[in-house]
Assembly symmetry: C2
Homo-oligomer: 483 residues x 2
């Protein structure tokens, strides 16, 4: 399967800035951080996803003759710069948080350390990929949480924002906890389960509903979920489905995975009625699948009303993250290397304190409570800082700095969560398979307190700064306000 060439998938200003740096002979190594300011949908956490596609993008980064010809045709780029682009490849370092990890606002989830011309070019596509997949993985995780133990199927391809949104959205949804997708290409590309039975058109193309059900059941006796709402769910659909199940059973066909699907009407009411009818007919193990504009909020309510639904198909609201369709990740300059090879921290001011960036070449340590394995806080610090978890540790809230937390030595453990992905332009990271990432993500969610997983008004996880980082940030701010 051929990949689209994404090298030109960038904002035009990245190229005008690149030419500017080129002309100025200015190509010092810099540090850019990708981070986000808020969890989508007021979630207590987000899920990291998209790194495998970022890696693929960086590996394939090169300007073809046609790309260069197109840029030449714009009449704004000089021949020497175009020639430089013709030989361009990425030579820098990238660090990232592995896919499936639970992540929190303000921490760098990916860090580029590269000559500024290279670091600038890759901004837009890295953000595009991570913003999309983190968004959908997070949404999927919330939907899966709302469903308790029931399985969730991703059904949104037809409403996704273009082919890639369907494809990589399905990938992210599986990472976030969905059991499968209806998207066949996603199944093939990412080796994930594909699922689905039939549509209303199947029913309508036969002379009656019974014949449509019967034909389908005889074709697919091993996995037979009949869509019962084409004409009248309780008067026609469920009775016809029961008739077909009975005929199969009477003729000796073993019923394995079978049941009905509801796709309209009130799912709580209809599922409870249908459950009674199926049970009374001797089919207590028939599943009831439901779909129809579901999201985590409706799912949460339907579960509370004891809807008799065993599995759920979620489409539009998951694949577009309807209530919050963008993730808001940004890419900010954090440091510039000087001639001595030191990273000089840079800061961007803002009238809004929350929007002031964290300066310097940084990393993140995740701090766990030793007893429970639950996350106590994330600590952002300089990349060269070392800690001893046997010693007490004081951490600061970066905005409300009076909020200090003292961690007592020996009661906590620490893990660096930003790992090397590219070194001098070479990929040094092997992405796990999507199903492995999904498994890892499930374990990651076990490190969250229940209070953080709650759908509404969740408890926020602390993302704090190290002593040293806090002091540097403070002095940079003081310095700027003096100017």
């Amino acid at each position: 399967m051929s990949r689209k060439d994404l090298t030109l998938l960038t904002d035009f200003y990245e190229l005008t800035m690149m030419q500017g740096y080129y002309k100025e002979g200015q190509n010092e190594t810099v540090v850019f951080d990708v981070f986000f300011r808020n969890n989508p949908s007021d979630s207590g956490y987000s899920i990291c996803a998209g790194l495998a596609q970022v890696i693929e993008y960086i590996k394939n980064l090169n300007f073809t003759y046609e790309d260069v010809d197109y840029l030449r045709s714009l009449g704004i780029f000089s021949e020497d710069f175009l020639q430089y682009l013709g030989g361009f490849h990425f030579t820098g370092d990238i660090y990232a948080i592995p896919e499936g990890t639970v992540i929190f606002p303000k921490e760098p989830i990916l860090k580029v350390v590269a000559p500024i011309m290279e670091a600038q070019l890759v901004e837009t596509t890295i953000l595009n990929i991570l913003n999309h997949q983190c968004l959908i993985a997070t949404k999927a995780s919330r939907v899966v949480f709302a469903a308790g133990g029931d399985s969730i199927m991703e059904f949104g391809l037809r409403r996704a924002q273009g082919p890639d949104a369907g494809l990589y959205g399905a990938r992210a949804a599986i990472i976030g906890g969905c059991a499968g997708t209806s998207n066949v290409l996603a199944g093939r590309m990412f080796d994930v389960p594909v699922l689905g039975t039939h549509a209303h058109s199947w029913i309508m193309s036969f002379k009656d509903e019974y014949t449509a059900f019967k034909t389908y059941a005889e074709l697919y006796p091993d996995n037979c979920t009949l869509l019962v709402d084409t004409y009248d769910t309780l008067k026609s659909g469920v009775p016809n489905a029961i008739r077909v199940f009975r005929e199969l059973r009477d003729s000796g066909v073993p019923l394995k995975k079978y049941g009905i699907r509801l796709d309209s009407g009130d799912l709580a009411y209809l599922s409870k009625k249908a459950r009674k009818m199926l049970d009374a007919a001797g089919f207590p193990d028939a599943g009831i699948t439901a779909s129809n504009d579901l999201d985590e909020y409706l799912l949460h309510d339907l579960k509370q009303q004891n809807a008799a639904i065993t599995s759920w198909g979620v489409g539009t609201n998951l694949i577009t993250s309807k209530d919050c369709p963008s993730f808001g990740g940004v890419y900010k300059l954090a440091a510039i290397q000087n001639e001595a090879g030191e990273f000089v921290p840079k800061i961007k001011l803002s009238e809004n304190t929350e929007k002031i960036t964290n300066p310097g070449n940084k990393t993140i340590y995740r701090i766990y409570e030793k007893d429970t394995g639950k996350i106590k806080a994330d600590l952002i610090c300089f990349a060269d800082e070392k800690f001893d978890a046997e010693k007490d540790l004081m951490i600061f809230d970066p905005v409300s700095t009076w909020k200090k937390t003292k961690l007592v030595g020996g009661t906590y453990t620490m893990k660096e969560i930003l790992v090397p992905v590219f070194k001098n332009g070479e990929c040094v990271y092997q992405s796990p398979s999507v199903m492995e990432i999904a498994e890892f993500c499930k374990a990651e969610k076990d490190t969250l307190w229940e209070e953080t997983k709650r759908l509404f008004y969740p408890h926020r996880v602390y993302v704090d700064l190290s002593d040293r980082l806090y002091e540097v940030k403070k002095s940079l701010l003081d310095q700027m306000s003096m100017e």
Copy 2:
């Protein structure tokens, strides 16, 4: 540029149904309609977009060996069916409304007339493409409307839901009326204007703001928009920009397209203050570009408050259609051809009257008021119905059937808006260029009444049924309720 192979980009149930039809030897020609039930964002109209990509998809539809191997590996498809897929291509007819046309709920915007196995396969991707591009073109059209005559630039790539959402979203945004995009790949693929200058990182990578501005202005004197909000917009950014403009002017460099860009803070307040400072310094023709979480609602308010902004960059809220991120187009069976070659109308019931489909092999006539050229109504009718605009015409509201409108012969004109795109699997339609479509779309919007273009509570355009279609629908409904 290589296209991804989209043949497997389909819902799994399309393939299980296809195999079902294959096994049953059931492959009669059917009619499927694509239509939508509501305009996004409570708009009074939508914009049709995406047909060129649907055409490309249908033309390239074929199962590779690898596709077939993958399907075989799922253990649900038989060898004879897999062999059939190996030789599959589309042999049917497709009719569609040309891109850039204004469209309204409930009318078929695309119609597939094909053997049911083929018509079923293409459902998901056709919906995916049209749903996405119609959504973004409609959103763009609203944003452009809110801006009055000011130009709108599409800046959303980094927040789009994956690469395609950025790429085809930019295409749709241009169709909807945007003047250009920041997306370089979209510029190359669709031959549309690309725009952009520099980011905060450019400013931060120089020793001070003045030096950053000066360097940029000397590099790009012909198109020099300086981003003024990195440190302090009115105290530092605008004065430094003025200093640079003055130095350029004093050194004899002609200032052509130049100005400032605001990317934070209150855009009404800051733009008016900046305008005064620029005017006082002798730069009345300096443009003021603004960006920062804009949408049609904020733009509408900023215009009302006389914000002194001359062009606008719109990102996240446009590229995701944030307040309404899905279009809701559906694909419904409308007729099945019988052995005599006649299309037998089919209908899908629903507990909700609004959701009952319109049966039959249909087309749409757009009715214009002769005097003004404005749209009077759209008329859905059978494909073989003919009308004489010199005669009186009675049309029915399909839900509130007591709402009848009598059009007096000679006061109106009619145009069939569904045109042939594929005939017997051959493409018979040549897509215009994106800029031609954008031009056409502008003219299309002139056929709308001002009341329909309004952002809030717009006047709805009537989409009515012909006498004959209304009678057939009624008798089908009567017939079903008798069963």
